[in-house]
């Protein structure tokens, strides 16, 4: 498994550049807290969508329970940080940040373990039945959370310390994008895609399809758990209603709009679809109608591949020659200077 293929490297460089730009804008107070908040929510959704992409886009398993794993991560890490805040560490310190990372990782691990336990029986189910079983699991978890009064029950788990910030969220986005696109482009990924295309044929070639399904499921849930932890520490609240199957469907929606199996598409769609309701806010109640209408339009006549082709054409015909031209002029200039 190559740790950094050049395509991934480009992804990561792009994200880091975005981060630098955002960070700069933020430091100079050019972004309102509201816009920053929406961007952070969009990034958390991007982690969710990219990770679901591994299960649904690359391995071809419908799962409508992704929000459940987000909930596991959110509650686990929130309980941990809150406990530590009781015994001190309430003032900002490097130790606190380290502990935040630890709690996020524990939350993610808990989510991965739950996914493993759920995945072993349910991933044997095929097609729509898996989707229904995961949906059922999601609803069971919500009911449980509503009834666990230790975790706040229907009031939600409140007073979680505010530890998430742009840097943490960006960092996790980079890590999840890097890991998932590496996985997807490795030998594991190609075997997963074989399972997606035709499970029977893949098995007859000696691919252990259950193993690849579980691998993808567990890895995706790991990142969903991290996203949950980040969200809980951003909102300072973990509430059962945040993690119902409607949230899972929202993530699935971002995945489909962005294009299944496309990591770039997932990130872009997550950001756009998180911002869209906010952008439509001017239309008040009508936005509730405009949003689904746009969705149906996107699904029925997906304009993204067309747009991508247009952009690629403009790049090839107009932008690239100019850049290449300038680059050769510069090269000649400098090589002339060196002579």
């Amino acid at each position: 498994m190559h740790l950094l293929r050049h395509k991934n490297l480009l992804n990561i460089v792009a994200i880091v550049l975005c981060y630098v730009v955002l960070w700069g804008l933020n430091v100079h107070r050019l972004l309102s807290d509201y816009i920053l908040f929406v961007i952070m929510c969009g990034l958390i959704n991007a982690i969710m969508t990219v990770s679901l992409n591994l299960v649904t886009g690359f391995t071809g398993q419908f799962s409508i329970g992704h929000a459940a794993f987000m909930a596991v991560g959110a509650y686990t890490s929130a309980v941990m940080t809150k406990l530590v805040f009781h015994i001190g560490l309430s003032t900002p310190s490097p130790l606190r940040e380290v502990f935040f990372l630890v709690s996020l990782l524990v939350g993610s691990l808990a989510s991965a373990v739950v996914a493993y336990l759920i995945g072993i029986p349910t991933l044997r189910l095929k097609g729509d039945y898996l989707c229904i079983a995961t949906l059922g699991f999601n609803q069971i978890l919500v009911v449980l959370l509503n009834n666990l009064h230790v975790l706040g029950g229907p009031r939600g788990f409140i007073d979680i310390p505010k530890l998430s910030n742009l840097a943490w969220i960006m960092g996790f986005t980079v890590v999840s994008v890097a890991v998932i696109s590496n996985y997807a482009h490795s030998i594991f990924g190609s075997q997963s895609m074989a399972v997606r295309e035709d499970e029977l044929a893949a098995e007859s070639l000696g691919i252990d399809s259950t193993k690849y399904k579980i691998n993808a499921f567990v890895l995706a849930s790991f990142f969903a758990g991290a996203a949950g932890g980040l969200l809980a520490h951003l909102l300072q609240l973990a509430h059962p209603t945040q993690f119902t199957f409607l949230k899972s469907i929202e993530i699935l929606l971002m995945l489909v709009v962005g294009g299944m199996g496309s990591v770039h598409g997932s990130i872009l769609a997550a950001l756009v679809l998180t911002m869209l309701p906010e952008v439509l806010r001017f239309s008040q109640d009508l936005r509730l109608v405009i949003y689904p209408l746009l969705l149906i339009l996107f699904a029925v006549r997906n304009p993204l591949p067309y747009l991508r082709q247009q952009v690629a054409e403009v790049w090839e015909v107009k932008v690239k020659p100019v850049i290449v031209g300038h680059a050769t002029i510069l090269k000649r200039f400098f090589s002339g200077m060196l002579k």
Partner: protein
């Protein structure tokens, strides 16, 4: 025992309504393998149609009932033509997401439209409740009887249509193999439209019955019964018509008894039973086993 009996009566009542909705899911799934998420919202549409026709136009209840069925049937056909038909050859997940979009559109559209609006409305008491005592404490109301009778007769009509008529035969053929059905001269597009019309009609009827039992109407009222009926359809084996009826009845009874046992955890019991059944019988109670590629 007496409590058991009266809860049993309630369970059967809710169960028949679930069965009516589940039939719509199962018919559509059986024919185009689409989980029609928007189906639950037809319940809302049916309930509001009846509500408006009774309160604003002063129609008698039976007329409102029929009108709701017709409106929902037409609406379902329109939804299929506009949103699902262009997606026949695309991945099924895309169609699923479109169904979610349609569902959101119906719910939020209802919220925005002035004569539905976001507030709760109370469904008028269409029929005066009359109690018939079976024992000293156990009783059946005429609403119970109406619900079960209406649902059962609709199911019998559906059964007759599917087993004994030409269009029923065409539906079964299309469900079995759409391409083959087309090649022997069946107009599959028409069959699919008719299937949606039947599903919508049943959902409209279920909506009115639901409103009679639970008279609080709001634009999001279809979400939960829709989800439960969907679970019932899967439980019985999605694609199987007797499965939908059996699943609906079982789920209605489970819901009522689980609520008696623990009102908060009842919702979870629903899904635990579902997952249990899926693990034991991966295609539901009466579902056919997978043949070849899933």
């Amino acid at each position: 025992m007496e409590q058991f009996l009266s809860q049993f009566v309630n369970g059967v009542q809710i169960g028949t309504i679930y069965a009516l909705i589940a039939l719509g899911y199962t018919l559509v799934y059986g024919i185009i393998q689409l989980i029609n998420f928007a189906h639950g919202d037809l319940i809302m549409l049916g309930a509001y149609t009846a509500f408006i026709s009774v309160t604003s136009f002063g129609l008698p209840f039976p007329a409102a009932f029929v009108l709701a069925m017709v409106v929902c049937g037409i609406a379902n056909v329109l939804i299929e033509r506009i949103a699902y038909k262009p997606l026949r050859d695309r991945p099924r997940l895309v169609a699923l997401i479109t169904a979610v979009g349609v569902s959101l559109l119906l719910e939020n559209g209802g919220r925005v439209v002035p004569f539905i609006g976001p507030t709760y409305r109370r469904f008028p008491e269409a029929i005066a409740a009359r109690k018939y005592y079976l024992t000293s404490t156990v009783f059946i109301t005429n609403i119970h009887i109406l619900n079960v009778a209406a649902a059962a007769s609709l199911m019998l009509i559906l059964h007759y249509v599917i087993t004994n008529t030409k269009i029923g035969m065409a539906m079964r053929a299309t469900a079995l193999d759409r391409e083959a059905a087309k090649s022997v001269g069946i107009d599959t597009d028409l069959v699919i439209s008719i299937t949606f019309a039947i599903g919508g009609t049943l959902a409209g009827a279920a909506g009115v019955l639901w409103a009679v039992v639970y008279p609080r109407l709001n634009p999001y009222m279809g979400l939960i019964p829709g989800l439960k009926a969907f679970v019932a359809a899967v439980f019985g084996g999605i694609g199987s018509i007797p499965g939908a009826v059996v699943g609906g009845l079982i789920m209605g009874l489970v819901e009522v008894f689980a609520t008696v046992a623990h009102s908060q955890l009842a919702e979870g019991v629903f899904f635990i039973i579902l997952i249990g059944i899926l693990l034991l019988r991966p295609t539901g109670l009466l579902g056919r086993p997978f043949v070849g590629r899933a």
